[in-house]
């Protein structure tokens, strides 16, 4: 499978990438690791006319504590998250989840920013950022704006980023307790059929679900039940409330709802809730 033809340009800075997006219009796409975009282009589901390569921008590859949160550059690779000592100490769930994305080869190329702006509800990192209450820093011609993860994922493969904006940084608050991540799939490297992620933050126990709606989604009913004193199994039994799971070769809607409840219980248990 070969992508449709396109022009390729390499940006040497974020500002140049923004200028190139403005110059080439909405049919241009940013390319970082390419592990979401290139498969879509091979299937001709995406046919950008121009690719603007930001994959080598070292200025966007970092993980560092800043003012009480962890700042992660958008082109930081999954592998770098997986082995980050900063994350191991402050947000270990994010390092763990990054280590479950795809396989070793995918993690050597794929980036957190690429995964986030792709906005696939079946991918793990967007759900993790939702549970963690992360913020996304978007830079465009008019400057920077900061969008909470809860407002960033607006539909299937659709996010709040504008056509002339670049995701430059992800800001994640440190977690304060145990975590759990349960990913159910048939082959180890596949997308989750359903995933459940539990993180303990200063706002309480947060639960996010992978592939249970058109966007990553919080298991709000389970979170509320825990706050009200319900047991783990009672709370997990509500995990699929308000979800709209897809139906495909991987699983039926009904089976996905079942998985969401079971995986949420397991994730809560492994988080020590």
């Amino acid at each position: 499978m070969i992508p449709a033809t396109f022009d390729y340009v390499r940006a040497d800075s974020v500002d140049e990438a923004i200028a190139l997006l403005g110059e080439h219009g909405p049919d241009a796409k940013l390319l970082a690791g390419g592990h979401s975009l290139i498969p879509l282009m091979k299937l001709r589901l995406a046919e950008p006319t121009v690719l603007i390569d930001i994959g080598r921008l070292r200025e966007l590859s970092y993980i560092r504590p800043v003012n009480g949160h962890i700042a992660i550059g958008a082109t930081t690779r999954h592998r770098d998250l997986e082995i980050s000592e900063v994350l191991a100490e402050t947000v270990p769930v994010l390092a763990h989840v990054a280590g479950q994305v795809g396989d070793a080869q995918v993690r050597h190329r794929g980036t957190i920013g690429g995964s986030v702006v792709h906005g696939d509800p079946a991918s793990d990192l967007p759900a993790a950022l939702l549970a963690l209450g992360a913020s996304l820093v978007l830079r465009g011609p008019a400057g920077e704006r900061v969008v909470p993860a809860a407002e960033f994922f607006v539909g299937f493969l659709e996010t709040a980023i504008g056509p002339d904006e670049v995701l430059v940084e992800i800001r994640v608050p440190p977690t304060i307790g145990g975590f759990g991540f349960q990913k159910f799939n048939r082959r180890a490297m596949d997308w989750a059929i359903v995933g459940a992620l539990v993180a303990t933050t200063d706002t309480g126990t947060r639960i996010a679900l992978v592939n249970m709606a058109t966007t990553p989604i919080l298991a709000a009913a389970s979170e509320a039940a825990l706050l009200a004193g319900s047991s783990v199994s009672e709370a997990a039994g509500l995990a699929d409330e308000g979800t709209t799971p897809p139906e495909d070769l991987g699983a039926s809607r009904l089976y996905r709802r079942h998985l969401a409840r079971v995986l949420t219980r397991r994730a809560l248990e492994s988080a020590g809730v």
Partner: protein
């Protein structure tokens, strides 16, 4: 566009369209056919090569993205007639049957062993999750990797 890469310590240049996938660039432009096209959907790992020393699936990388960078393919492992230790371990432990997945398995193994602090059977099985063998030869492949790491019991 003109693309120059350092492959197996040799600088090589070819003209290719921006949409050329790295695996096709290696096989067709540079005539290094050791790297295989398997599933073509970044699942099977047959196309695995090392990019700056780390395993990547070359069916999901554009040649344009690696312009100016260093690659190692299966052709670059042996030292003349002397096999690389991972190749030798695959030979000694019958870590292949039809051999189609083998270049990718070997390259993924070289990358994995460079990253692992402690090599265990579980770590090898997890670490090779991105490589499929349709002869169902995993048992001997895992033995080969453990042998290459010097921890085969």
């Amino acid at each position: 566009m003109r693309i120059t890469v350092n492959v197996n310590s040799v600088e090589m240049t070819a003209e290719a369209e921006p949409r050329t996938l790295l695996v096709h660039f290696l096989r067709e432009n540079l005539e290094l056919t050791g790297t295989k096209v398997g599933c073509d959907t970044s699942s099977c790992g047959a196309c695995t090569v090392l990019l700056e020393g780390e395993s990547v699936k070359s069916c999901t990388v554009l040649a344009a993205q690696v312009d100016g960078m260093s690659l190692t393919t299966i052709e670059g492992l042996a030292d003349g007639d002397v096999l690389h230790p991972v190749q030798e371990a695959f030979r000694a432990n019958h870590g292949l049957q039809c051999g189609y997945c083998t270049p990718g398995m070997v390259m993924a193994t070289v990358s994995l062993l460079a990253e692992l602090d402690v090599v265990t059977e579980e770590a090898v099985r997890n670490g090779l999750e991105g490589n499929l063998c349709r002869c169902t030869g995993y048992h001997n492949i895992v033995r080969s990797v453990l042998d290459a790491a010097g921890v085969l019991s």
